[in-house]
Symmetry: D2
Subunit: 297 residues, 4 copies
């Protein structure tokens, strides 16, 4: 290991939770004590911590060589959004309950953090998605996703009909509440709630998971990670639909738009403690082995 020496670390956290605040304080002291520069977001209470530098969130990660998110997987996704164009490594410290992404626990924080600063860590590269929304006349938006790109119907109670092509080949016209395009990282998030499978992070694949499909045989389809997915709405009337990226509403999706989802040229670099074990995270988060059903007699 020892391939990287960190010098400037950005901390990202919400300042509304006392447990998070305590962890940020502890962490900034630890990092400053080891001679590193520590940056926090200007608009937060953390800006008053001794020795830290405060920046607008949009500039927080510039010239840093490590980003640490303190909170849950939501904070990790926010951090991912900040850094997805840089090639910065991201480390997550959970707020008590371990996340799929924020896997460092507060009670082991000091020891594990020192090990990581000493170069004892695992470095993992995760694929991301790029979503490009084309309007009838112009490009409307291009965003990157660590977890998922979701097309969903709006609040009218009306199902959507939307057409999906993969690498130019027509797949299906789905009818239902929407469609999730998930990376392996996102396979344990919303996709799992909608019936999608768990995909090991190293898998080069993307899941297309229908949400509450009208047709019962309209099941999740797994395709190679470098596929190009094109989605358009096929609806008699003006559809009420929208696009969500990593859980944040991104844009409306109209009948004349087309959405293209491909593998992003960006990847997310996650740092884990050296004893990180993906399947152990799964077992813990999904209560595997805590049997929910009685043994048959």
């Amino acid at each position: 290991m020892m391939d990287l020496t960190f010098s400037t670390v950005a901390l990202l956290a919400r300042d509304t939770d006392p447990d998070v605040e305590e962890t940020v304080e502890l962490l900034s002291a630890l990092l400053l004590g080891r001679g590193l520069q520590v940056r926090v977001t200007a608009e937060t209470d953390f800006a008053d911590l001794p020795g830290v530098q405060s920046y607008a969130e949009s500039e927080l990660t510039e010239h840093c060589d490590l980003v640490i998110a303190i909170g849950g997987d939501g904070t990790m996704l926010r951090a991912a959004k900040l850094i997805n164009r840089a090639n910065l490594p991201l480390l997550g410290i959970n707020r008590g309950r371990r996340g799929f992404l924020a896997d460092l626990s507060p009670d082991e924080l000091e020891q594990k953090m020192c090990d990581i600063l000493d170069g004892e860590y695992l470095r993992e590269s995760r694929m991301m998605l790029q979503a490009t929304l084309h309007g009838s006349r112009h490009l409307k938006q291009q965003v990157h996703a660590l977890n998922d790109v979701v097309i969903q119907r709006g609040a009218t109670g009306q199902m959507l009909d939307f057409e999906v092509k993969v690498d130019g080949a027509y797949v299906n016209t789905h009818r239902g509440d929407g469609l999730i395009i998930a990376t392996p990282t996102g396979s344990t998030a919303y996709s799992l709630s909608s019936g999608g499978p768990i995909m090991q992070p190293g898998l080069n694949a993307v899941a297309m998971v229908p949400i509450c499909p009208h047709t019962l045989s309209d099941r999740p389809v797994i395709i190679p990670g470098n596929s190009c997915i094109d989605i358009t709405i096929r609806h008699r009337f003006e559809a009420d639909a929208f696009i969500t990226v990593d859980g944040n509403m991104t844009d409306d999706f109209s009948n004349t738009d087309s959405l293209q989802v491909t593998q992003s040229i960006h990847r997310m670099t996650l740092l884990h403690p050296a004893d990180y074990d993906y399947f152990e995270v799964l077992r813990s988060k999904l209560n595997w082995g805590h049997y929910g059903l009685p043994e048959k007699a």
Copy 2:
């Protein structure tokens, strides 16, 4: 309450588990100390406990007015089988981890048991099923089930085609691994693993749940509890199938047999502590509220 005074209690337990043995000892001393007669199975180690009477398992529950099963839900089902023709109440003490049926915990045993003997309990009547297997020429078997009657394919790897009628009306010819007919009590057992819904115990209904159905739209069907279900095998070749009742293999099921499942005239009377809460059991057994997935950002 106070509507019942117990005088003779049958204890049913496996003698292979030290935790169970300890509970049986404690319980028999408590019951004997309150002047009750206590019966145990002759073939077990419990026959040596001071003051107890030992009987063959088949005669264990005769002239008793309470049966207590110590163990898991499997032991409860075994007890149910012993008493399903009598109208004896059944109480379950779990072996550490609470069951759906065995809901009294060892750590609260003494207090709760005394309350129950004082008449402080809930009495609940649960519906049972009757399964009648007709051969081509004669009645092969008639059994009663608290949880479920299951038709399953054998070990050949060959799917089954079996035809189902409800109250004489043709429903479907299922193709797949089998079919579960479950009571509300059984809805949280094998049926739940196969995609069936949870049914509140008081519901007068039966679930027909296909096992790994070939047709993806072949979904669980809930019918009134007093329905009459007829099942026959429709297979080109001699099928390799069998019938399981409450988790115990009961008989082979051949192409010329027909199986009729109806509500049993017997019901199971369960006793619960006075503070019994069905939904609390569900929450506890199914880890509800222990979220397995991360919050969306």
Copy 3:
């Protein structure tokens, strides 16, 4: 049969579909030819048909003794909404493809319609739900549903936490996209897409089906039809949620509201051709027997 003589019939249909228009023309001529009075909605093209009477939709069914919906199940639900306080029978004619509710086919229309007018029909009474939305200070709305009452999150991409009680007993705090409360009639609609079971129409039961639940063991629960369900939102922030009844958005659902769902005092009377077979409708609509998977070798 012959228990009912129809004299005034209301026809409900959308006038945007040529197939529907043709059926309405044929049907009105047939009914008028048999001496019945025929009413149509004033705002539609059907108002110009010879011999018919036109009324505002809100008054269409007054003093009628039969309502006929021509279209799909959506039109049936619209008709149900119009008549759910009267005790009018409803007959559905589908637009080509049979519906779960609109089960009379155009190609058999004349013969079947004459049989029905001669008293050759089945009369079926279906349970309905009543949804009462209480605001913090006043009753906001009370509506009736033939299919389902649905609580759903809005377009923010944020999951909902909502607490459910049945007959005053706490069941669960669901986290996810929402919850469907479905009648047996609604069990083959949105509920089925969300993993709910099929419930035979005669069953006196209600399904509570979570939509994309965060907790994987948060499964459909079936409770007795006369249960009282109370739902409130438990969310840190002001939730963005709304209520849909039979597929129509009905109201916003705020953190200070509470929604009570019970069996309605109204029931829906459906008329079917004398040879109506519920399971045949299921087989046809769900493609049962059209196997979607290959036989195992």
Copy 4:
């Protein structure tokens, strides 16, 4: 194309179906007419067809350069078993209803077959699995699978506990009816009935799909195609379990055995008509677009 000239063709079919027989006759005449050598299985009625050569099934494919299976996907799997060590291309002609694998229809047989013999075809290479069963002291068996390797419990009604490792890392101890290890090709077979996703054939991945799992969060896991999966039984008593490969029972699986599943060094070469479209096969086989549910109003 034109990269291959066929000279000797083996035909594999069951001789119990008149439709199949007719197709075999037509096909052998067509092939012989174009100067090719045609081989059939000696034990079948086809051995009497004029001009064909008959061989024992075990020698049928030796020195051939094309195998044609006539029947359903079951016949395709039988053909795959015969040729999985050779690098022979396999073409499937279905018996009326299109299969996932047998995708050439009888009504287009002559034209499509001539095109294929002229070199107008698609050549597709599908991954296979290798299953190695180690007994306590010796290798018990090694087999290859095009669809799936399945571990299942026997006819006792007793659930299995079995431990799974991937590339040496402990994944989970499953409790339930069994586990399916499926290739992308097998993802539309038994795996789909058990809740597994559809995987595009080109995906380099393997699905591990639990059968009726006791733990509701025990969901399908997709791992890279070159993973090494080790399975052992963890059961208090002697388990009653067996192994099925491509739908054929292969061996018992005892508590002291261990099963290793890896990617096979063999691959299956499928030939398709030039206009072959995988998604079109999916849409057709799974009735996509034949909506099974009514539109919400």
